[in-house]
Symmetry: C2
Subunit: 174 residues, 2 copies
């Protein structure tokens, strides 16, 4: 299970643009340099971000890219979807959770995959570019990670309860 570099790089592009919000167009070459990523490849990706209306382009010598909307209104899930397609690509867990798998009669695992899908969706759509920018550059990692995990876990269990309307037995405490 992995997120493609497409999505990862795409997010990095968007975050870089978010940091330069309000400063006019930022050239892709500059982004590539600062993020240490291959320019030619980013070009391919940013095209799709533009087609997905996440980014606007200005041509010409002083051109570049800008976010199409305020950073606080662009969630990561949009970036991932634009570059990577469905969040969880499985016959059993469609992007809209309505898709049905090959074994409608006895697909034992359908519900689980739907849950995994919504969990991904929740996490990604709850984070905006502005959030990412605000969070970056904190204390050294292990510390930040532990703190984050604790907070995250509390929140997860909270909205797990909220999402319990789905026909799934309550999660057993491990």
């Amino acid at each position: 299970m992995k997120l493609s570099t497409r999505a990862e790089y795409g997010i990095r592009i968007l975050v870089a643009l978010a940091r330069a919000e309000g400063e006019g167009p930022r050239s892709l070459a500059a982004v590539a340099r600062s993020e240490k990523l291959p320019h030619a490849y980013l070009e391919q990706l940013v095209r799709e971000l533009r087609r997905a209306a996440l980014v606007t382009a200005t041509r010409g010598k002083t051109g570049g890219y800008q976010l199409a909307r305020p950073a606080a209104e662009i969630s990561l899930v949009e970036a991932v979807r634009a570059l990577d397609g469905p969040l969880l690509e499985m016959p059993c867990a469609g992007p809209d959770n309505l898709e049905v798998c090959d074994r409608p009669q006895d697909c034992s695992v359908h519900e689980v995959f739907v849950r995994v899908h919504s969990s991904l969706e929740d996490t990604l759509s709850a984070t905006s570019l502005a959030d990412v920018v605000a969070t970056a550059g904190g204390p050294p990692y292990p510390v930040a990670v532990r703190r984050r995990r604790a907070a995250q876990h509390a929140q997860m269990t909270a909205n797990a309860a909220a999402a319990a309307d789905r026909p799934m037995p309550a999660a057993p405490a491990r």
Copy 2:
């Protein structure tokens, strides 16, 4: 972003075995038949499940496989890890969430990926095989939507512009 068929089939095997809990060994051929999956491939996968001590094998004519522990004590995350490796394979989100990425100084997206990782982990580890068995065979699934990935993806990117005003919960700040 996708879960490999390895993991999916592996889960299906385990669920099939969980259904036959207490009935002695179940032959892989039987599982393959009932799940409509290629026997030779499953053989490869079940080997890894055995090495991961999720399953025990009995050889000989009346042989087969059984769960190594009660179905209620085996969570899906174990199956996924055994067959698919790290939950979220990224430099920025190690299996134990302590691993650090290439850009320790200014990796803007580290925190997000750690969050996605824990979200996956929470969901998968909160579901045991027994839960899956208990949930299966419930009410009929929603009306079928034809599977056309390309079309889906195209439509998705096209809709992105229109979906500009989705409500977006703010991520908890650190």
